[in-house]
Symmetry: C2
DNA sequence: GTCTATAATTTGATAGAC
DNA sequence: GTCTATCAAATTATAGAC
C-alpha cells in the first residue's frame, strides 16, 4: 500500500529488458517484446527510458557491474596467491553457472560497439584491477611461489578456461548433443579440474625446459 | 572474355555479404550495405539470392565448412597423440590469427538460431569428428601415453585456450588497451605456451593426486 | 543481368486522451 | 502514470523498364 509499487513498473521494465536483450542482443531485441514481457504498453517504455538505446545502456551498465565484483574481493583478500587463483577459477565458474548466457551477451555487445561499451564498462576500474593482478603475480614469481609467467597470459588462460564453455554452450550442445543437465554437471566438475590445470602449470613447469 | 565474369557477380556478392555479416551479424547487417560493398544494386541481391535469410545461409554454411577441416586432417594422420594435440593447438591458433573475427561470429549466430544452424553445420560430421577424437584419447590413455582424462574436458580446454582470446579480443583490447600489433604477438607466443600447458597437464598430472 | 522506382512491412518513437 | 492511435523512418522485397 506504500509507494513500493511506484518503483515496481520501472523495475519490471528493467527485468523484462534484461531478459529480452540478453536473449536477442541489442539488434535482435524488440521494444514490443520487452513491453509484453513487462506486462505494460510500448509507449510506457519510452516514458521511463526515452529510447531503446538508453534502456539498453542502463541494463548493460548494470549487468557489467555485477560481473566485476568477484575478482576484486578475491584479490583484496590476504590469502596466498595460489589460493586466490583457485578462488578466481572456482567462484567465477560458480557465478557463470547461475548466469550462463552473460559472457556471450557482454562480449557480443562490446564487439558491436567497442567505444561506447568501454565507457559504460568503467574501463579505468577494470584496468586498475588488471594492474593489481599483475602486481601480485609478479610478487608471487619473485618470492618463488609460482613459476615465471606473463600475467596477461595467465589471466587469459583463466578467463578462457572459465568462460569459453559458457560462451560456446549453444554450439557445443548442438554439436555434441549435450543436455542442460549434463552440461551443468560437466561445469561443476570443471571447477576443480580447471583450477588444478592452472595451478599445476604454475607450480610444476619451469621456464628452462625441465622434465 | 569467357564466362568467368558470370560467376564474378555472384562471387562479389558473396564476398561482400561475408564481410558485412561477419562485421554486423545477421540482425545488424543491411542489404543495402552488402550491395554497396559489392558495387551493385540492392535488387540484384534478391535476384541472385531470393532473401536476406537465404544469402546468409549460403555465407554461413560456407564459412563453417572452412573451419572444420584442420582437425579432420590432423586426427587422420599417423602421428603420436601428443603430437596431434600439439598440432590441434598450433594450427588452430594459426588459422584464427588469419580470421580473428570468425569464432565470435559463428558462436553468436549459432546462439541466435541453434536449430537451423545446427543443420547447416553438418552436425553429424562434427559429431563423428568428436567421436574419433574421443576414441584416440581413450586409446592414448590405455597405452599410458597420457594420463586419465575425460575427452570432452580435454577438447573443451583446447578450444577454450585457443579461441577465447579471439572471441574476447574487442573486450580485452578495450579493457587492457592492447594494440592489434601486440595482440598479434601475444597470440603468436601462445601457440607454444598453450600447447605446453595442455600437454604438460596430460603428461605430468596423475589422477590419484600425486605431485 | 542489371537498374530505377516503389511496394509492403516492421519498428522505434510521439501525440494526446484519460 | 498509463493507454490507444498514429507517425516517421528504416529496411526487406518486388515490379517492370532496359
Amino acid at each position: 500500500m506504500k509507494e513500493e509499487r511506484d518503483i515496481t513498473t520501472e523495475q519490471r521494465i528493467l527485468k523484462a529488458a534484461r531478459k529480452v536483450f540478453i536473449e536477442y542482443g541489442f539488434n535482435g531485441a524488440r521494444m514490443q517484446l520487452i513491453a509484453d514481457e513487462a506486462g505494460i504498453n510500448k509507449a510506457l517504455l519510452h516514458y521511463y527510458f526515452r529510447s531503446k538505446e538508453q534502456l539498453f545502456d542502463v541494463v548493460f551498465t548494470d549487468l557489467l557491474a555485477r560481473f566485476q565484483i568477484a575478482f576484486f574481493t578475491i584479490l583484496a583478500s590476504d590469502k596466498p596467491l595460489i589460493e586466490k587463483i583457485r578462488l578466481m577459477v572456482e567462484e567465477d565458474i560458480e557465478l557463470l553457472m547461475k548466469h550462463p548466457e552473460m559472457p556471450l551477451f557482454i562480449i557480443s555487445e562490446v564487439a558491436r560497439n567497442p567505444e561506447k561499451t568501454a565507457r559504460r564498462a568503467n574501463a579505468a576500474k577494470i584496468s586498475s584491477l588488471f594492474k593489481e593482478f599483475s602486481r601480485q603475480v609478479k610478487e608471487g614469481i619473485a618470492e618463488g611461489e609460482i613459476r615465471e609467467v606473463d600475467p596477461i597470459d595467465l589471466l587469459m588462460n583463466i578467463l578462457s578456461l572459465n568462460r569459453f564453455p559458457f560462451i560456446g554452450k549453444p554450439m557445443i550442445q548442438s554439436v555434441i548433443g549435450l543436455s542442460d543437465d549434463r552440461f551443468q554437471k560437466l561445469m561443476k566438475s570443471r571447477k576443480r579440474s580447471v583450477a588444478e590445470l592452472i595451478i599445476g602449470d604454475l607450480k610444476n613447469r619451469t621456464t628452462t625446459g625441465g622434465k
